[in-house]
């Protein structure tokens, strides 16, 4: 299996991830256009579980600004604590942001490969 690391192009990463997730059994992907909705919603029809994926990239700033937590907290609040959220960050996460994400029960992957995200999705939906 070829592992696709993030090469600076978020769009290509998301395309590759989407393509791989679409090959998973019983899994359906929904892209959200709502401003406060998740970037990607992954639903396992078999188990009924679902996972929200958020992509964040601060580019040259190097690390996600701490206020990145605000829309994620809103999403978590709207959907309850049982809703699983996965943050895929293409930038570094500060200690404060990481601790707040943990409080929200949001799993964060920093500069992951596509396969690492797929594996995480697989585990979350199992």
């Amino acid at each position: 299996m070829t592992d696709h690391a993030f090469n600076g192009n978020e769009d290509i990463f998301v395309q590759q991830l989407t393509a791989k997730l679409n090959t998973l059994r019983n899994v359906q992907l929904e892209k959200s256009t709502a401003e406060d909705g998740p970037d990607l919603k992954v639903v396992n029809h078999h188990s009924g579980k679902q996972l929200f994926i958020e992509f964040k990239n601060a580019k040259e700033y190097g690390e996600l600004p701490i206020s990145s937590i605000l829309p994620i907290a809103k999403l978590a609040k709207q959907n309850g604590k049982t809703q699983k959220i996965l943050l895929v960050s293409f930038s570094h996460l500060s200690d404060l942001l990481s601790s707040k994400l943990k409080e929200l029960n949001v799993q964060a992957l920093t500069q992951p490969t596509v396969d690492q995200v797929v594996e995480q999705v697989r585990m979350a939906l199992a």
Partner: protein, 207 residues
């Protein structure tokens, strides 16, 4: 829509930082926090910040120390106007860095970020060195290429007997004079740019 800017401090003394923010901006953390999106969200508490400031149209909150980086959250009341947010960040950046300079606190690596959904903007400050490099880049043709070209052309013209030696010498003289003019122009430009305009405390934002 909100923003953040950060600077690296050579020595970060948290007690001193709280003291100087209180001296320059007053004890406004409670006011600023209570008006911020953080209070509404509840995810960051007041004690995650060490100082703050609030006006009718914007606020800033200073995050607690993390390493040697001083990080400041900026939130405008008007959430729709991107240019207003850029101006607000630059206004607070100027004020905070002037305050640090007054207190002889050395800072470096200024950077800013604006969170616009899916399109983060990064703000960078042109240092004096960046300005010098830019001037040299713009003047490269006059300073290096034209003089080298003129001298080479004169030598070749003499070598191929297109010009006599005396005529070639005149051309060389002209090339030297125009090169000197270009260098004097450069020195003046550097003086005007660096001494009179000074080091701008302003972020330039780009997607």
């Amino acid at each position: 829509m909100d923003g953040e800017f950060k600077v690296q401090l050579k020595h970060y003394d948290p007690v001193q930082i709280v003291r100087i923010f209180t001296e320059y901006y007053g004890d406004r953390l409670q006011d600023a926090y209570s008006k911020s999106a953080y209070r509404k969200s509840g995810i960051l508490k007041k004690n995650d910040f060490c100082a703050g400031y609030q006006t009718n149209d914007s606020l800033f909150l200073v995050y607690n120390r993390e390493g040697n980086t001083l990080k400041i959250y900026v939130e405008p009341v008007n959430q729709q106007d991107l240019n207003n947010l850029k101006d607000t960040i630059n206004k607070y950046f100027k004020g905070v860095t002037e305050m640090l300079d007054d207190e002889s606190i050395k800072w470096s690596k200024p950077q800013a970020n604006i969170l616009v959904e899916k399109c983060p903007l990064t703000g960078t400050v042109k240092t004096r060195w960046d300005q010098v490099k830019e001037i040299f880049e713009n003047q490269r043709e006059k300073l290096f290429l034209v003089p080298i070209g003129s001298v080479l052309a004169s030598f070749l013209a003499i070598h191929w007997s297109i010009l006599e030696k005396s005529e070639g010498a005149k051309d060389l003289k002209k090339a030297v004079i125009s090169t000197l003019e270009a260098y004097i122009g450069l020195v003046l430009l550097l003086l005007v740019q660096l001494l009179f305009t000074g080091n701008k405390r302003q972020f330039t934002f780009k997607f």
